[in-house]
């Protein structure tokens, strides 16, 4: 099999002097480095992170809310010692907020200043002048591309932007460059790691998906969730962590409107530690269930199913 190193190829295309070294040696190293940053990955997460680095491709991370999608990008940034640049997406996000914007106030000032000085100034010189990088406001995407130090770019909740806005990202995701009509093309000065997260409230376009590696982060199994609790909640006993993880698993098996997320599990664990509990009895569970469940109907259902006493205690 002819093996062109994707990193090498991309570096050539970007015209980098040398190929940036790979960030991870192997999958085990990913797992270890993430663990050092308090992020417990599993095999799938670590493999995809490893591949993203090796293939120099962005990762699209999908899954229910609160399962650690954003945290993954943060942990990776910490693990490789890179700056995290975050673009929070929302409906109505446009080019001027995501990519770059001309600082027209400053341009106006420049024009007015020129006018008062001397009217002989050549217009074309002025035009060239006001469309220089000095007047460019970089937004997260351009910033990530033009950074010289290592960066991790996090494009958070990409499913919130409109389908048309997604197209803004395509050039960056596949070529690691941004074209600015007045300036030309800005190419990346290093190979940034890119993470996109989505809560799956709508289908993303094929074009976007094709350019990314895909990672689905679901709820962790009991063992991993226990370990997450232990690593993130100081002072918790293994037995309590295990019991919490088991209760949460049972809750997720119920047909609830909103299953408890990992972050809610952690909140619950912290609460129980603060209350000084060593194990969860029925009464404690009922009294603190509202930390895990945010709908009254869910609370009632969970109380009924788990404790079997119905609405009386809810």
């Amino acid at each position: 099999m002819s093996s062109i190193d994707p990193r090498q190829e991309l570096a050539d295309r970007l015209g980098l002097a040398e190929v940036p070294p790979a960030r991870f040696e192997n999958v085990a190293e990913v797992i270890e480095k993430l663990r050092q940053n308090d992020y417990l990955s599993d095999e799938a997460i670590a493999s995809v992170t490893f591949l993203a680095d090796r293939l120099a491709k962005p990762v699209l991370v999908e899954g229910p809310a609160g399962t650690g999608k954003t945290a993954l990008a943060k942990a990776v940034a910490d693990a490789v010692g890179a700056r995290l640049i975050r673009l929070q997406c929302y409906e109505g996000l446009d080019e001027s907020k995501a990519l770059y914007e001309w600082n027209y106030r400053k341009q106006l000032l420049r024009i007015q200043a020129g006018r008062s000085e001397s009217s002989t100034e050549d217009w074309s010189a002025l035009e060239e002048d006001i469309f220089a990088e000095e007047f460019l406001l970089t937004r997260p995407l351009l910033e990530a591309i033009s950074a010289t130090e290592p960066v991790v770019l996090l494009i958070d909740e990409i499913d919130r932007v409109e389908l048309e806005t997604e197209a803004l990202l395509l050039e960056i995701l596949s070529e690691y460059q941004v074209s600015i009509p007045e300036l030309g093309t800005v190419k990346a000065k290093q190979i940034p790691m890119v993470f996109l997260t989505s809560n799956n409230t709508r289908e993303l376009s094929e074009a976007l998906k094709r350019r990314c590696l895909y990672l689905y982060v679901g709820y962790p199994d009991v063992e991993r969730e226990r370990d997450i609790i232990i690593s993130r909640v100081p002072g918790i006993s293994t037995a309590l962590a295990e019991q919490i993880a088991r209760v949460v698993r049972s809750l997720r098996n119920l047909d609830l409107k909103k299953a408890p997320s990992v972050s809610e599990t952690l909140d619950w664990a912290r609460t129980l530690v603060l209350l000084g509990r060593e194990e969860i009895g029925e009464a404690d569970a009922v009294a603190t269930l509202h930390i895990l469940l945010k709908y009254q109907a869910d609370l009632e259902k969970a109380t009924k199913e788990l404790v079997g006493r119905g609405k009386a205690l809810a």
């Binding site: 099999m1 093996s3 994707p6 999958v27 599993d42 095999e43 799938a44 493999s47 995809v48 490893f50 591949l51 090796r54 293939l55 491709k57 990762v59 699209l60 999908e62 899954g63 409906e91 106030r105 409109e162 799956n200 409230t201 709508r202 289908e203 094929e206 998906k209 094709r210 990314c212 590696l213 895909y214 990672l215 689905y216 679901g218 199994d221 019991q243 088991r246 209760v247 698993r249 049972s250 098996n253 047909d255 409107k257 969860i280 009895g281 029925e282 569970a285 109907a297 199913e305 788990l306 404790v307 079997g308 006493r309």
Partner: protein, 482 residues
């Protein structure tokens, strides 16, 4: 390897996954970057490059297990195994077939010995111990043993894996096993909560065992018939393509699960489309404020959000046995996106007709309301066979006055009228009053008008008669409606 990848991708496409050319290239490249003797790694790598939708993962996983079966794994470290003595040591402890299991690669605990030297009790005991101590490796060898013993697999016999699975499970008596697990896990002073946890734990373990057995059977079938043939027979449709009328229990559960996110996505999409479709009047305040930064010149106009009229929906659904599940799904979906309509009223019928709108209003979970329809709606007037003519008559008599030019009437059913009178003239009058009349028929078009189906008589008075057999078709239709 490259050939195998190509065949694998053909299989994925046949199963309905949209795998593009560039994804194929990515997968091939990704494989060069990793150690391909590590089966888990290969799987993760192919999943990341070929599958771009979480719902497609199970289909991918099944296909992967077939094409990259352990016995023919790409790595050279897996010696060719003897089919008969399938107890031969598996050098690689890790077997990701069983979902959710991540063996730690320890060597196998127990369970060696000759193929069928174990008695039924010993096998049950071994499985029990393995499951109790969470020992994945002995559980897998137990699964292997169970398949040896009970499945009675015959080479070349063209039956599906489910047949062997059923035979194995029937003989294993999983209920007893589960009871034992629960009994062993329960402490003396356990309260209700603890009991429930133990039960869920046991359930999860039994599911894991089932998965292990299924994987084992599948592997042997691959050996017997080759990946391509088996791929075809285990291929399952994606949830949105399942035929609602003929779904089995498993598929039904899948449909139920798929319905909620599907409705949510649909609602988001419709809300967005509505907001974008037209602009409202100019928002002067915002425009003036905005103009300050351009020296008072209103360069950038701001608009108020639009308030377009939303349609009213009346759903009239046949809930007799043959089409009940289809009616349930449609009602669920329409109500799940009810915020996109100004008003939704629902009626169900068999040979009598009853309004069920209040069920949906009382509960904020459409699934719950749908479940209550069966027990609470009064729909049987005579013999309990669908009578479309009567249902329409009753509807017309009681509710025709509520239908106006903003109302879209949605009729769900196969129009199999059991040779009753059709009363199509009633529908004609409804069409005259309503904005639109649509008929959703869950039968394939080729069955229409055969036997007692009288869709032909109603069709002239409908704006559209749509074949609607899968969630995909349903979603497309409901999306156009709003």
């Amino acid at each position: 390897m490259r050939n195998l990848l190509g065949e694998f991708i053909v299989e994925l496409r046949a199963a309905g996954l949209p795998v593009s050319m560039s994804e194929h290239v990515d997968a091939a490249r990704a494989l060069t970057a990793i150690d391909i003797s590590d089966r888990d790694m290969v799987k993760a790598c192919l999943a990341a490059t070929l599958v771009k939708n979480g719902d497609h993962m199970p289909v991918f996983s099944t296909a992967f297990d077939v094409y990259f079966s352990n016995r023919h794994a790409s790595g050279a470290d897996l010696g060719e195994m003897d089919e008969e003595s399938s107890n031969a040591d598996e050098t690689k402890g890790d077997d990701p077939n069983a979902t959710g299991m991540r063996g730690s690669g320890r060597s196998r605990g127990m369970g060696g010995g000759g193929g069928s030297s174990m008695s039924a009790e010993e096998l049950a005991e071994m499985l029990f111990k393995a499951m109790q101590s969470n020992d994945m490796n002995s559980m897998r060898s137990g699964a292997r043993e169970a398949v040896d013993r009970y499945a009675g697999m015959e080479p070349g016999r063209p039956v599906g894996g489910t047949y062997y699975l059923y035979r194995t499970l029937r003989n294993l008596d999983l209920d007893t096993l589960m009871d034992r697990l629960i009994a062993a896990g329960t402490k003396a002073e356990a309260d209700g909560l603890e009991e429930r946890l133990v039960k869920d734990e046991a359930k999860a373990k039994v599911e894991a065992l089932k998965a292990a057995i299924e994987a084992e059977i599948r592997e042997r079938l691959v050996d017997d018939r080759g990946a391509e043939a088996l791929g075809k027979s285990v291929r399952k449709p994606l949830p949105e393509d399942i035929d609602v009328m003929h779904a089995n229990r498993d598929e039904m559960a899948q449909l139920e699960r798929a319905l909620k996110p599907l409705s949510r996505k649909l609602a988001t999409r419709l809300a967005r489309r509505r907001r974008k479709r037209r602009r409202g009047p100019i928002d002067l305040r915002s425009t003036v404020r905005r103009s300050l930064s351009t020296g008072g010149v209103p360069i950038d106009l701001r608009f108020k959000p639009p308030h377009p009229a939303k349609p009213e929906i009346v759903v009239i659904a046949d809930i007799s046995g043959s089409v009940a599940s289809f009616a349930r799904f449609t009602l669920h979906m329409v109500h799940a996106i009810s915020s996109q309509f100004s008003k939704v009223r629902s009626f169900v019928f068999v040979d009598g007709l009853d309004e069920v709108t209040h069920l949906f209003e009382e509960s904020d979970d459409p699934a719950e309301a749908v479940a209550r329809i069966n027990s609470e709606a009064d729909v049987i007037a005579f013999d309990g066979h669908s009578d479309y003519g009567r249902a329409l008559l009753v509807f017309h008599e009681k509710y025709a006055s509520t239908i106006n030019k903003r109302t879209a009437v949605l009729i769900l059913g196969d129009a199999r009228n059991n040779y009753h009178q059709a009363h199509a003239e009633v529908l004609a009058d409804l069409k005259f009053r309503a904005r639109n009349v649509y008929w959703l028929n869950p039968e394939p078009t080729s069955y229409w008008n055969s036997g007692d189906s009288v869709i032909r008589e109603y069709a002239p008075y409908c704006d559209k008669v749509v074949e609607c057999r899968s969630l995909r078709q349903l979603e497309a239709f409901v999306g156009d409606l709003a």
